[in-house]
Structures are given as C-alpha cells and as structure tokens.
C-alpha cells in the first residue's frame, strides 16, 4: 500500500462526497422548506445518469450535463404536482408517494433501457491525468470536484444573496406569513422541489462516466443519502456537506482497506453518531 494510492482514494472520496452533498442538499432544502422527505432522490439520480447515457450517444457530454438534469427536474415538477393534495397531511403519505414515484422510475428505466448495466466513456479531454504534488491524479475526478464545487457555491449564493433564496429562507422560517404577504407559496414549493431534484440530476450526469449505470443503484444511493443526512443533522446544509465528505472519504479508503465490508462503514458511522448525538453532528436538538 503506497501513499499515492491512499491519496488517490482520498481524492476519489472527496469527489463522490461532493456529488453526494449535491443530492443531500436537495433533500435537505426540500425537507426544511416543505417538511417532505424526497425518497425519490436516489431514483432521480440514476435517471439523470441514464439520460446522460442516451444524450451522450446523440449529442455530446456537455449537452448531457445540461439537458439530463433539466429533464429530471421536469419530472420532479410532476412529482411535486402529485404531492400537492398531501401538504399538511401525515408525513407517511408523502414518504409513500415519493417512494412510489421512485419505484415507477426504476421500473420505467428497466423497461426503457433494459436490464443491462450501461457505461459511458469519460470525455476525451478529461481522460488524462493531472500531475499534482508529483503524483498523477485522474483528471475526471478533479473535474467532478470543480463542477460540483461550483454548483454548491451557486447554491450558497442563490440561497443567501438572491430574491428567490430569500423567499426560500422565508418559507423555511414562516410559511404562513409568506403566504399572507401575497406570495405564491405553491409556486415557490414547485420551484424548491424541482431545484432539489435538479441537483440530483446534476449528480447523476456527473457520475455517469465513472459508474456502472444500473437502476438498482438508486437504493444504494438513497442509503448513502440517509446516512449522510442523519450524520450531518436532518435540516442542516452545512452538516450535510461535512458528513458527505466524511462518508465519501471513509467509503473510498474503506473500499481499499476492507474491500469486503466497506459498505458497512457509513452505517457504523451513522450508528456511532446517533449514540453520541441523536440530532446529528450539526443538527439542533429538538425542543
């Protein structure tokens, strides 16, 4: 085991952690704003990857990176439309509905794209390696970190500095008041949900070249997201960021050091955090 291998794994861990963060941020946003957990996030992720696969064959990777998330967000809008009668009802119904949507998407993918695992090539100009500190790193991972870093920064900027972000924050703190001010809360909800799903689509399209694209991944991704959200604290965006990086790096190192049982690492982390701090590392205690 050499240092260079470890560093390479850490880099891969950071890149997958960043991507996980995008999806977790989507769930976290929807959860704080609308009090809904979107269980479809994993399915939307893999749908993004499959769309990327199809678009790459027709156009090129850049178009795929832009179009795939938009199509996914459109489907997210449809899901939000289905969710509308359920606002204010028990969380159970919303969970079941998003879970139902996830099942439909996964089977839809199997019907449409077939059961075989799809792969796409890393775009030519990113298939080389980058030299850093005298070591070679695959440049696609750097590309993922840069793009998702930009998206995360954009997310932060949108949230903190724009009118829309202000409305999002206002809805999170007092939904009824925002409605009373004559603002169309239903429309903001739609946008919020679509935005959350769009993030998942971006994640799917970004990951498409380096994973085996398989509809069953949706469940695995959902699992990672759950652990990240629980470790970081359910409604904390900052918590989700650090938790995603921790889980990503732990997973990457684990896959090298303990190839058999590395799938258990996030769960072990999750249980440890829960025992010490049930509300998550960055969550606020209830009451």
């Amino acid at each position: 085991m050499q240092l260079v291998d470890i560093l390479r794994q850490v880099l891969m861990g950071i890149s997958s952690g960043m991507v996980t963060f995008l999806m977790a941020a989507g769930i976290s946003l929807v959860m704080s704003g609308m009090n809904i957990i979107n269980f479809g996030q994993g399915a939307f992720f893999i749908l993004g990857a499959f769309l990327c696969f199809s678009i790459v064959n027709v156009l090129n990777f850049w178009w795929a990176l832009i179009l795939a998330p938009l199509i996914v967000a459109g489907l997210g809008g449809l899901t939000e439309f289905l969710l509308r009668p359920l606002y204010g009802k028990s969380i159970l119904y919303q969970l079941l509905l998003t879970m139902g949507v996830a099942f439909v998407i996964m089977d839809g993918i199997r019907t449409f794209w077939g059961k075989t695992i799809k792969t796409i090539m890393v775009p030519d100009f990113l298939s080389s390696t980058v030299e850093f500190l005298g070591l070679d790193f695959p440049s696609y991972y750097i590309f993922i970190i840069i793009i998702s870093g930009f998206v995360a920064l954009g997310l932060w900027f949108m949230f903190e500095r724009t009118k829309l972000g202000m409305l999002f924050r206002a809805i999170i703190s007092d939904r009824a008041m925002v409605g009373n001010l004559g603002i169309n809360v239903a429309l903001i909800f739609s946008l919020m949900f679509m935005f959350g799903v769009w993030l998942s689509g971006v994640a799917g399209a970004l990951m498409a070249p380096i994973i085996g694209i398989d509809s069953q991944l949706a469940i695995q991704v959902l699992f990672t997201l759950m652990t990240v959200l629980i470790i970081g604290g359910l409604k904390s965006m900052r918590g989700a960021f650090f938790a995603a990086l921790i889980v990503g790096v732990a997973n990457a190192l684990g896959s090298m050091l303990l190839p058999w049982f590395y799938t258990l690492i996030p769960a072990v982390l999750m249980i440890t955090v829960l025992l010490i701090k049930p509300e998550g590392l960055f969550g606020k205690p209830e009451d």
Partner: protein, 309 residues
C-alpha cells in the same frame, strides 16, 4: 357493517372467520390453498406493521427487516447451525426480539422523522449485507432446504398449521389493542405532547410496542420461510417494506382487520399479475401513488379516517 361486527362481536366474528378459512382449505384446489397460506402470512406481517403505523402513528419504513430477521435467523440456525426445528424456531424468535430491541432503541433516539429514516437505513443496510455476504447468506440465491414441521408438511396440513399460528397471533394482538396499553398508543397518535405531560414515558412505551411488532413480523418471516422452503433476499427488501405499508393503506390503517384485507388484495393481485408482467415493482408504485392521492382512508377506514393521519 363489517366494522361494527368487528368492534362489538369480535369473538363471534373471529370464530366465524376461522371456521370459514378452515372450510376454504378443504374446498379450494391446492394452488389456491397455497396462495391463501401466503395471504395469511402476509396479513400477519401487515397487522404487525399496523400496530405501529395505525395505532401509535409511528413511521416504520423498513419493517421487512424483521420479517427477514425471523426468516434468516431461523434458516441460518437450522441449516448452518444444525439445530433441530423447535430449538431453531425458538432461538430465531429470541434473536428477533433481541434485534428489534436494539434497532428500536437506536431508532427511537430522535424525532419521528429521524425514526423513519433510521428505520429505513437499517433496512437497506441489512438487505445490502445479506446480498453481499454471499458465503454466509447465499446472496441472491438465498438459503434452500428450510423444513416444515414433519406433521404439517403437505400443502393442506401446512395451511392449517399457518392458520392456527396466525389465529393465535391475531388473538394476542386483539387482546393487546383492547388493553389500556393500546389506549396509550392511540393517545400517542392523537396528541403526543399531552401524554408526555401526563407522565407517560413515551420512549419506553414506543420501544415495547416496537418489540411486539417486530416479534409478530418475525413469526410471519419464519412461516414464510417454511412456506417457500427457503429464505430469499426479497424478504428483506425495500419493496417488501413498501408492500407492507401499502397493505395497511389499502385496507385501512384505523381498523384491526384493514391491513389483512389489504394483504389479501396485494398478494392476490401480485401473484396473478406476475404471470403476465414482470414489472411488479412499477405497478406497486402506481398503486401506492393512486392510493395515497385518492384513497387515504382505506377500504375498512370507517369514520375515524381523517382524524390525524
């Protein structure tokens, strides 16, 4: 009408139901007897789930893990542990109760949303573990060669065995929900805060309910393993958990027999359609969406339907 009968004359109704079901075993051809056995087992699973969902308003999103606990611990103890049938069965039940205590304790540490997520997290974790740990659990192909009790090995006799086991479980559950214990559970669903002010230790209460619910699910798991003469990862899958919630939803969460009716509908539809289409998961998704949007009370929902849920 069915519901008033259930409420006031539950004993009479239970006796009639058992007689009718016993009669059906003789009348029906073997294929349908087998299907009915499966319906009974899944009805037990759905009812155990409904103890949490319908009575206490909890959100156990990964209940199939207890079905899996029962089935896998029984199967592994019998096949790999070389235990006899009865000791394996008792040990499996013991392990399941212990496991549901641990999982319940860990899940109940946060708010209701965290409970649901963690429950689901454990479910996915265990199903991943079982799929990956091929040497121990057989992975995708499962564990074959689970026996039925020698006295009840053919289809009809096994049907009566399951009918007896499920009836006993139903009677126990019925006693449970008529007890003061269940009144606390309903109070928990309606107004948790008030109960806390009354000095009820909610966590401990929920944990006890969780263990009871997990126990009945494990019984269902063991029966299912005997029915299929094997244990398969589908038992512990997320789909199975969602199916359980759907059974409760279709039949009606606020009634005792609602989930059982839901189980009958889901099992029969899935068996019948699976011969024509292979996308059961997608169909399940569509049914869930339709039920959640248009049909929240369920068939046996009755008048308390829209109270809190």
């Amino acid at each position: 009408m069915l519901q008033t009968l259930v409420r006031n004359k539950s004993i009479g109704f239970g006796v009639i139901a058992i007689i009718v079901l016993s009669g059906l075993g003789i009348v029906l051809p073997a294929y349908w007897t087998q299907l009915l056995t499966r319906v009974l087992i899944m009805a037990l699973f759905a009812s155990s789930l409904n103890l949490q969902v319908g009575y206490a308003g909890m959100l156990p999103l990964g209940h199939s893990m207890f079905l899996g606990f029962g089935a896998y611990s029984f199967g592994l103890l019998f096949i790999k542990g070389d235990l006899l049938l009865i000791p394996a069965l008792l040990a499996a039940l013991f392990i399941s109760i212990a496991a549901s205590t641990i999982v319940g304790y860990l899940c109940l540490r946060g708010d209701p949303m965290t409970f649901g997520l963690l429950h689901l997290g454990f479910n996915i974790f265990l199903s991943t573990l079982i799929n990956k740990w091929i040497r121990f659990t057989g992975g995708d192909s499962g564990i074959m060669g689970i026996p039925r009790p020698s006295l009840f090995s053919d289809t009809l006799r096994f049907y009566y065995f399951v009918l007896a086991a499920v009836s006993i479980c139903y009677i126990l559950m019925r006693i449970l929900i008529k007890s003061p214990f269940a009144k606390v559970a309903q109070g928990l669903r309606e107004n948790e805060e008030r109960l806390r002010f009354l000095g009820v230790n909610i966590r401990r209460f929920q944990l006890v309910l969780f263990m009871i619910s997990g126990f009945f699910a494990a019984v269902a798991g063991i029966l299912l393993a005997m029915l299929d003469k094997g244990v398969f990862p589908a038992y512990i899958s997320l789909t199975r958990s969602a199916e359980g919630l759907m059974m409760c939803l279709i039949g009606g969460m606020s009634s005792f027999l609602g989930p059982s009716l839901g189980a009958a509908i889901v099992v029969i539809i899935s068996t019948v359609t699976s011969t024509y289409i292979y996308q059961w998961q997608g169909l399940l998704g569509i049914i869930i969406i339709a039920c959640v949007i248009g049909f929240r009370g369920g068939i046996l929902g009755g008048r308390r339907t829209q109270s809190k849920l």
